[in-house]
Every structure is written in C-alpha cells, then in structure tokens.
Amino acid sequence: MIFSNSAVRSPHEIIQRRLMLLAALFLLSASIALTFAPAVRIHTSDVDLRWQHWIGFAVWLVGFGIVFRQADKRISDRDPYILPIISLMTGWGLLTLFRLEPSYGFRQTLWLAICFIGMLIGLRMHTLLPLLRRYKYIWLTLALVLALLTFFLGTSPSGSGPALWLRLGSIYLQPSEILKIVLIIYLAAYLADSVPARFKLMQLLTPTLLVAGAALMILVVQRDLGTASLFIALYTVIIFLASGKRRFLLISFLIIIAALIVGYFVFDVIQVRVEGWLNPWLDPNGRSYQIVQSIIAIANGGVFGRGIGLGSPGVVPVAQSDFIFPSIIEESGLLGAIGIVLLYAVLTLRGFIISLRASNQFQRFLAAGITTYLVSQALLIMGGTTRLLPLTGVTLPFFSYGGSSLVTAFFAALLLLIISHNATDETSQVVQSKAYFLAGTVFISSLLAVGLVCAWWGFIRADSLLARNDNPRRFISDQYVQRGKILDRNNTIITETQGESGSLQRVLLFPSLSSVVGYSNANYGQGGLEASLDSTLRGIQGNDPAKIFISRLLSAQYPVGADIRLSLDVRLQLIADDLLKEQTGSLVMLNAESGEVMVMSTSPTFDANKLEENWESWKSDSTSPLLNRATQGQYPAGNATAGLLLARLLAEQTLPSVAPEQEWSTDIQNLLYCAQNPGTDPTWAGLIVSGCNRSFNLLNYYLGTNMVSELYQETGLTTPSDRTITETITNDSEISVISRAEDIGTLFVSPLQMASAYAALSNGGYSVSPLLATAFSYGGDQWSLFPSDDAPAALPDMNTAQSASLLASTTLPGWSLASTGFTESARVNWFIAGTPTDWKGTPVVLVVTLENASSNLAVKIGTEMFNAAVNTID
C-alpha cells in the first residue's frame, strides 16, 4: 500500500496510515462520482464524462505517498493527525476546483506538486527552525519589501479588484500570504527571546507593535482588509498566549471595534461589507449579491448535499477561492459542513497540543501562531460566507484556489510537523495553559457556531431561500428537466419546453398570449402564469412527495412538471388579438356561469420568446407592452356600471318610468354626453345602452351613494381579483396606463373585474370569480382539477333578468352597453355585452376597453368578437 512503511509500527503510525487510507477512499469515491455526474445530470449516458480531475487525484496520491514515507524517515515522532487532515482538506479542495473549472484544477495541481517538493526539501533541512529564528529580521524585511512592491508593481490576476499580486511571468505571487507566515515567525522569535527575562508589557510590545502596524498599514492602504483583520487577530492571540494577560485581549478587542467604526466611515468596502452582513436582503442583487448567493448555495445543499458535480456552485461569485466553502456545502450538504468544521477543530486541538508540548519557547509560540493563523483564517471566511461574520476576502486554508495561499499553508503545516517531532512531555518553561485553554475554547466553539449557522440555512431556512427569485438554480434545473406544458381548453399547446436535456428552452407558441401566460427566463425571472403556477409546472405542487424526494436526491433536480390546462380558447383568442391589433386596450370574455376566462387579450403586448433582445425597450416603452391591461389596467368605470345599477333599481322598483333627457351631446365635457347616439325619443334602456352621463347620474342619485358602494362591493368591483390570474409581468409597469387622479367618487376597475361583475346579467344574478387555470396532469390523461374556493353566490336584490332584457341589443344576440370613462388626461371607451338569461348555449360575458379611441370602434370590435364567439362555441 502506498501509505504503509516499515514492518515496525507504533500506534501513531497505525492511526496515521488508517487515516490516510480513509482520506484516499473518500477522494476516490468523490472522483468516481464526479466522473459520472454529467450523465446523471442530463439523464443519459451518451455524454462526455469528466476525466480531468483524475490527474489531480493521481498527483495527490503519489505526492502524499512520498511525503508520508519521507516524514516517517525524518520526523517519525510527529503528530499523527496533521498530515492526514491537510491531505484530506487539500484533496477535497482540489477535486472541488476541478469540478468548478478544470483549468483551476490543473493550476492548483501544479502548485500542489510544488508544495510536495518544498515539503520534501524542508524535511531534509535539520536547521530549518533555527534558521528561521536567527534571521528573523531578514525574513521580515524581505516580506515587507515584497508587500511594499505591490504598491508599485501590483496587479490582479482577474484584471480588476485590488492589486495585491506580483507577477513573475505567468505566475502570480501574493506577498501578503508570505508576510503572514513571516510575521508569525518574527513574533514567535522575538517573544521567545524576550519573555523569559522580564515581562513588561509595553516595553515588550513596542517593537512588535511597530512591525505589525507597518504590515497593517500596507494592507489597509492596499484594501486587503481580509488579511488585515487576520493580522490583528493573529497578533492579539500570539501575544495573549505568550503573556496570558486577558486585558490584552480586551484592549485588542476595543481596537478592532474602533477600527471597524472608523473604517466604516472611511472605506467604502467596509461599509458595503458591514451593511451586507447586517441586512443582506435589502440589496440582494447589488451590494449583498455575493452573500445572498452564498447562503442560497448552502440552502440548496440541505442535509446530504446535492452530490459532487450535481449542484450549481458556479453561480456563487469567486466560488474557487473566497466562496469555496458554500460551493462545497452545496454539493456535500450539512454533513460536509460539519465534516470541514470538525477537521479544523481537530487541527486546532492538535496545533495547541503541539504548542504546549514544544521543546522551547520559540517553537511553542510558532506552533501556537501557526494554529491561530490556520484556524482564524478558516473562521473568517467560513463565518463570512455563512453570514456569521462580516465578509472578508481571505482564502480557506488548504481548500481554496491560489498558489501563494497553498504554499504558505503547506509551509505552516511543515513547521507544525517538525515542531511536533521535537516535542517533549516534560517542559520546564512558563506555559500560560489557561490562555491556551481559553483560546482553544473560543476557536472550537466558533467553529461549532459555523456548523450551527450552516444547519440554520441548510435545514431550517432552506425552503424560503430556495424559493427566492434570485436563486438561479430553478432555471438551471429547467434546462435539464421538462417543465409542464400549458394547454388551452381544447388541449392546444400554448407553451412547451423544447430541446435536449441540458439545453431545454421554453417556447410560447402563441406569442400574443405573452401578457397572460408570462415567461420563465433565467435572466428576467418569471411573470404571469409561469410565475403563479410555477410550483405545479415544476412538479412540486400536487406531485407525489416521494417522487420529488427521490428526484432531488438522485439528480439534484426537480421532477418533470405537470401540464396545466387553461380555460382559454385559442381560436377565439386569436380572433380577439387580431381585432385589438393596432389598438391600445383589452378584451376579456368569461363564461358567465363558471367564471372561466375564455379570452384575455391585451394590446400592445410583447413576445415572451424574445425577452433577451427587447426587454429594456419594452420596459421603457411608454405604451407599457409588459402590462396586462385586462387584469392590471385600472380604468375609470365612468357610467359603465349603469347596467348593474339598473338591475338593483328594477328590483327595488324605484325607477321612474319617464326617461330623463331628450337631448344629448358628443362633447365629453358636457353633462349631456352620450357615448353612442341614443336616437330620438330614447327610453331609459336606450340611454343606458348608449352610455349617457345624465341618466347614469340620475341612477346614482335614485340609489344613493351608500347603496351604490354596497352594490360595487357585492359585485366584486372594489375587491382585487385572484392572484393566480393577476400575477404581474413586471413590478415596474404596475403603474396604470391612465393616470389616476384622486377623483373622489370615480371608480377604477380592471376589465376583468368588470366582466365578472356583469356576468350576473347573463347567469341570472350570481357573482362569479374569474378562473384561468382549470386542471393539471402529471402525465397521461389523468387530469386533476385545481381546488376552487368560492362557489357562485346569488346576488341579493338584483333584477338581472329584466335589466338584461331591457338592454337587449339589435346588433348581437344578447344585451350590451357602451360607455366612456375619463380622467383629466385620458379617456377609455367601454363596451360590455353578454348572452341573455335564457341563452341555450354557453353563457358568455364580454368586456372591451379601448384607450383614447372612439366609442364606435369599441362597439364594433366588441360586436364582431361577440358574434364570432357565439357562432364558434356551442
């Protein structure tokens, strides 16, 4: 076996060998799973499998095999846990990088190989520790100079962001990483030289403070705040462990708080980070985009994880370095998170034990410093990506992508191993064991807190996080899994998903229905029915829970969605769309008995298939094509409600028999305005059919204000419609087309509301609620009805039958009326018609609204539509 050695084995060697074997087995399972992941995703084996990461795995296996053997030879008495822990962490990180982007994986493999070579050289150098101690000022100067060089020659591999790197050919070097470890060496050496003699805190601290301050300045000026905060933490803990003085912790804590407050006002970065930490939900697409996406990734992981290669960690920004923790959690779940946390916890424990058993003060402080560096850096970034702490950009040691970071971490681990080899049980030095205990307790409980926070996001808050609109995973899943079709009442397909798994696309076959059906688009979210019926179309609602669970478990995807049948009739819809073309307005037709929406047309409209090209222009278009005027349009009702008032007055028998007026006007400002010519010697009915203002005002007067508003309430004109139908396309165009002057007494209603109120005239006096989606089906002909909550209720005190017969039309088989509603800036023409009460076929009610067009046109369109409808449907 690769990790076995000589025949003689101490218990430590046996433990170590078993741990290495388990780590190798873990990575082997992960590698095989990752190889097949693309096939699982796409539901077919006919796909390119992943092979690249096997190179990484091979380098890992050979490299650690050699290091392990050499370590057995050179430092046989080392701590048995350090090497297995870092091997597992490195391997896991490496596979994650290959999974994210193979090119990161290859580069990291190269760096890992360099680390192995460095380790082998380091193991041969017997004088490594004394060398570090003796020339501490040289190392420090070199590191500071390198860090200073970034002021002048600094670049960034990504091209933007802080210039923290030095470029040597194609290699990028991050001097702050080197500075980190050198600062630890310097502090350890300095304190070891000074502590045994006398311990005067200020005297001791002055030179170290200067050095740490200088290092800090470089970082603050360079805006590398993650490393800067790490420096403060490192410095504090090392001095505390050396001195055992708690007041030092307090002072340092106060300094950090003060620095944070000052930094909040001076540095934009800190402000962004602190605000994103305190309240990420305020600006989830801007300032706190990273943290929100990170939390969603953790939520997606759940308990067991989505499986390596099966999640979507790529959507979290900088997933390869700063955000590698949530990337791993998404695919390995809460179990993985707890695993990582425990790995760091054991590393902390062993690090401190090594420090306590170290053979001299220098090695003791060095071991303590290294442990503090590794664990506090891990805590900073794990806490930052889980919203336990404000976000600071540091790498997760051993996991994250980055050569400098990996080399530094390996160098630190090498020092720790050498120190552990030199350890003794019997030390004669001053040891602040209480300080160690306190620091260890704080570190380990903070790590456990990270685990708890992961449980909070991944388990308790997971569902609400995953349902967020800025969770792109739903749309990614849509590219692999069939979303349900949307059909019309005759099973004509309106919307379906086309293409091959992996590149599925949603296609709306009737683009004129865009405003009603809406869209489901990765870049623009969801709107319309696609949004309100999403959970059914996605196969969650109404589906077998076991099916959902298995689908999520096996392939990290949602099951195939349900088809949905609408009450729309595509044939009639096309006629309506054609009639409304070139106009601005809407046309709604309901089944007067059931409330089923048969036609819902709005104009101008957009094309849900062409969002990418036109979204911005549609959004800024003054005619608001994204608005569904039938449901969202809030139009002044004018005297369009006259037919309802008439029905009430007829029931109360308080309608005077004499018609009110003999003359009329076409001037909208005139009190005698009529939308249509009432003819000579008109009756009450004739005046109402023509939409005459004065007769409407009289109806209002006879009924009284209270009665009228009561009537509006009963007929649903003042209550908003069901959300399933009125789901907006975009929140931005929620503004009504007609400017809504606060005209007291003017009723604003949507065409849909008007249609469902007037349905009473065609169904014998029942209120209906509009219904668009009628049934859903998970495959086959097994249709289930959507549960409907309200049954039609009889409206009291309405003589709808008589009202309908009074309003009987001469041009269509039923009743009708026209009307004009207006505000100061615009006007809208209504045309409302319905089948008579004794109609033998399907009773329908129709509402046409036209903005700023003639009343005649509204009447013409409505009449044509109505006649077409009664001829088409039985």
Binding site: I15, A33, P80, R198, V346
Partner: protein
C-alpha cells in the same frame, strides 16, 4: 444504464460521507484514548507531599499539597491565597516535574525570591528553602516518598 447510474453515484456519495465520518471518528476516538491514557499515567505518578509554612505564623497556618501544581497569588482562586497588594494576581507556581518540585515565577510585578535570589527561570526546590513573595516568607518542606 441511465437509470442505474444515479443509484451508483448515490452509493458513492454515501461512501463519501461514511469515509469522511470514519476519518473524523477515528481521530476523535484515538485522541480521546490518548488523553485518557495520559491522565491515567499522571494519576499513577506519585507526588511527594509539599508543605508550606508561613514564617512567624502559628503552626496552623500551613499548607499541605499532593497535587502537582500549586499557584500562589492574590487571586482567591489560587491554591495559596495571600491578600497582599504587593503580590500579583497569579504570582508564582510550584510544579512537580521530572521528579522534582520547581518554583517558577509567573512574570509577577515584584518578583519571587528563593533564598533571597530572584527567580528568573524555574528552579528546583529542596527542603528548608525560603521563598519570599512580597513581604511574605514561606518555608518549604518536602516529604520523602515512601
């Protein structure tokens, strides 16, 4: 193949969890055993009793210890608690190590003196040593092991 594959991958994922936790549990179990073993060793070690007399005080003011570490200081939690402002909170400690009792100054402000010499680094104690901490003098008596 395409229906079997997700199950195979699922088994591999379960294997990942199992190996990861086997790794962690193996570490914890062995660390725990190690700690138990060490504390057992420590418990088996015999420590010679050490007696501290306050100079000039009656015979009753003496301390007898059998533990391997004794802290002297002004703090009430110290094993030898002396309420004297000149003494640091944790002033010095006596520790049994390598078959000897050692005195070690805990970086106190005013220092610890053994037979009138300042204790800079740990020093081995013998019978009848005189320890001065502030103005207090403690006489040491170490019992021989049976």
């Amino acid at each position: 193949m395409s229906t079997l594959l997700p199950v195979v991958v699922l088994i591999l994922r379960i294997l990942m969890v199992l190996t990861l936790y086997a790794f962690l549990i193996l570490m914890m179990v062995t660390i725990w055993r190690d700690l138990k073993f060490h504390s057992h060793l420590l418990g088996q070690k015999k420590i010679p009793q050490i007696l501290l007399y306050e100079d000039g005080a009656p015979e009753t003011a003496k301390y007898i210890f059998t533990q391997n570490e004794i802290i002297i200081g002004r703090e009430e939690t110290c094993d030898v608690f002396i309420a004297d402002p000149v003494i640091s909170a944790r002033h010095a400690r006596l520790v049994y190590r390598n078959a000897h009792w050692w005195i070690e100054d805990l970086l106190s402000t005013n220092g610890t003196y053994l037979n009138d010499e300042r204790v800079e680094s740990p020093v081995i104690l013998i019978n009848d040593d005189e320890l001065r901490i502030g103005k207090n003098i403690l006489l040491i008596e170490i019992q021989a092991l049976n």
